[in-house]
Subunit: 264 residues, 4 copies
């Protein structure tokens, strides 16, 4: 193993969280996570006009610095990807990594971060910086949580499909009832079924802004029936995901506890 | 088996989802499901006045085409119903099918879809087209889900009846308390117990539009007590249905998984 | 057994639901339940001024008739109470029954129903008629449900006491934070901690009328933290009651199913 | 054991709830709990300006009396702390107690209660009196509940961290979507992502004040998707704490029931 390979292997171990078996993050990983969080907070706060105007120079330079940092990180990861396990050539491994979901997101974010410095205008690219958060999903517990969520959704897809359809049906029935009762009194809010669906969704999720609510007696009776019967049923699909996710996390915890006890 | 019978049997296998044992939908079934979904979306979107005026000709022709399509489907199903299992004559089997719940809904929807083209006026018939959605409940997972929901409701009818009565009692007690406290200050919203029940239901389901809310100190104290003690209890009946439905779906999934494993 | 005793025993079996072992209601019980429900609906609807003025004579006579009916029922029950099991004298048994919780409620309701016909004014007595609903709790499933709820509350009193205190603490902490942040900007709504508690309770139960909500940035940050951390914790006491009640109903159902199967 | 030690030991047994093994509160403990509750109620009610002006003298004297009472309690506890188990000297035990979490809170509250009587102004110190509630957490069931909550949070820290991050992500995604759709129409409410986060949090917790809600069609569609998909997921972290807390309370109850049965 020559000196070149050793450096590349160390870079691989430092940058690829999946390369480590203890589930912990390397120092470099921690710095990358910190940089992602700080750059996202800056991007969020920077949308506030007053903050953005007062700190224009600082924000612009910080954005440029983060853009360069993530570009360097991408290039080093591409180079170190040759260390991934397998018999393929270094170029093939790099290409395989570059086509992976997270690598494509990283590339898109790097490009979107640096484009505003090359081309004038293009303010919409600024929001793309928020996608950097998606890169966090590679790391540690999140990478597991993501797989657990995905498995939970696949495993209960029939439940989700049936309860999702039931929720949709309730939303439609509620909207139709209120359209029928209120369209004459409030044409702006209930003048069509799609308009009434806004009311229906905001009521059945129990958000209840109050920007639209029935004013006729018949409309109130229908709304009361819809609210009493629909509450809880519309929340069933997310309830199923939440329960599945919670089960998966508990399994994971139990397995880790067992592994820790065996290791001791 | 002559050629006529063979065609009829094939039509039966294609149209009646219950005839198939693998629980999958035939190509014809899929086309019917698609046609139902598209025609319902058109009916929903068509209630938006601007859309309806701009696309009057297209919507009218589409509606006529769907009406004819579902008429043809109904006639072919009636003809193919003679293939249903049993010793009765073809006419008896057809009559038996025609009296079934789903066949009656299909007939009603076909009639309601085509009547506006024969008689002028009758705009209320347009909403009947939404009942086509009910026809979807015949198919695949939904047909099971419907039976599961029905069984869950029958099985826990005492729980539903007791918790439903408790929820009703809470709504009434809340309405009476607020009627007593607020009727002088807000006669429009709390001037009678039925009016106060609107407040009571919207509060206890936690929707909380804010179109009516107590303004007196006593009213606020009562409302706070009602909200703190009633939250969760009013949602009990739907919670019971949701839990029963969820259990039934899980059983179904477990059984299907077992069946799939046995088949392999 | 002379004829008098026979009539009295029959009256006892007809009127006292607890005398029957099959848990079903006698014909007289069903009539009483119906009369209670109708008289309560009339009392509720009668608070609506327009209805009350239009049907003054009908409502007055109906109320008088129901008052007499429940007076007669009370007197007959008092007479038949002598048939209750035990060695005491008929008078002692009657006195014992008359002192029971439900008999006192019945007496109070009978008096309150007939007083407005003797004394002018006294409109507040009209609401007492709603207490007749409490008499329903004697019957069938409800009598069990009431005992189950009581047992569930006694059994989990420590949980209720601790989670209730936690909910109260959250409400107080939220109110104090918003009082601190918003009292200058909105003295009417947040000018004191008791005023801010109205906001706190309506927010933490997720009702959210919107009649009061923070307008300052600091108030919004505090409100967001309170909402995110408090949601679900304030609902814990009712959640505990709901879960205990649900368990008790399920036990009851299992026992009844077992009993039915044994009987067959 | 001389007379001095006996008195001190009795004071220790009376004041330190942890010294008793039966988990019950001594008479002195009950008086202290009562004094804390009354003084907190006075502090809360005293923030209402009208009450505060009308009863200025009474409230001032009551506050002074409570301040003295808690000062005396603190000094006696410090003196009696020498009776705590262990081999250290009396002074060492007292110093150890004085550095404990609850002793520091007690000292802070005593100082904050009496400072306004020495220094003019300093109205902010008045709110510190509410921290006295924290002293209640030493006593009986609460002391257990606190430890149970702490253990539950430590035990499920990974679940909390992952679901908390997921909730944060949902809030951010919702805020970004609405910022994108609504910032032009409502710059005051949706003009930046931090502003839109207020909407996002109030919607996803289902509070839904209605002070800000989307008005454009695109904004309503995004809001409907956010509400339907996010409901329940944002409540996951508190749901996990609530479930863990509930489990811990149930274990505690089971253990106490078992202990009571063994004792009989």
């Amino acid at each position: 193993m020559n000196r070149h390979t050793t450096t590349r292997h160390r870079a691989y171990m430092e940058l690829f969280a999946s390369a480590r078996t203890d589930g912990k993050l390397s120092l470099t990983n921690r710095i990358v996570v910190g940089a992602i969080l700080i750059s996202v907070v800056l991007a969020v706060v920077g949308t506030e006009q007053q903050v953005s105007i007062d700190n224009q120079t600082v924000l612009r330079w910080a954005e440029f610095a983060f853009g360069l940092f993530f570009l360097v990180e991408y290039v080093v990861r591409l180079w170190a990807a040759a260390e991934r396990p397998g018999d393929a050539s270094a170029t093939a491994k790099r290409f395989e990594w570059a086509r992976s979901f997270f690598a494509l997101i990283d590339l898109a974010v790097v490009v979107a971060s640096l484009v505003p410095f090359l081309v004038t205008g293009a303010p919409i690219f600024r929001l793309v910086r928020l996608f950097r958060l998606a890169s966090l999903l590679r790391f540690g517990e999140f990478s597991f949580a993501l797989r657990a969520l995905q498995a939970a959704i696949v495993d209960r897809r029939y439940d989700l499909y049936v309860t999702g359809a039931l929720a949709g049906l309730l939303v439609l029935v509620g909207a139709t009832a209120l359209y029928w009762a209120e369209s004459a009194a409030q044409p702006e809010a209930f003048g069509s079924i799609p308009r009434a669906m806004w009311w229906s969704i905001i009521t059945l999720t129990t958000v209840g802004y109050g920007d639209v609510s029935p004013v006729t007696t018949l409309g109130k009776i229908f709304a009361a029936i819809v609210a009493l019967s629909g509450i809880g049923l519309v929340a069933m699909p997310t309830g199923i995901i939440a329960a599945a996710f919670s089960d998966a996390m508990q399994d994971h915890r139990a397995r880790r506890t067992a592994a820790t006890e065996n290791a001791e």
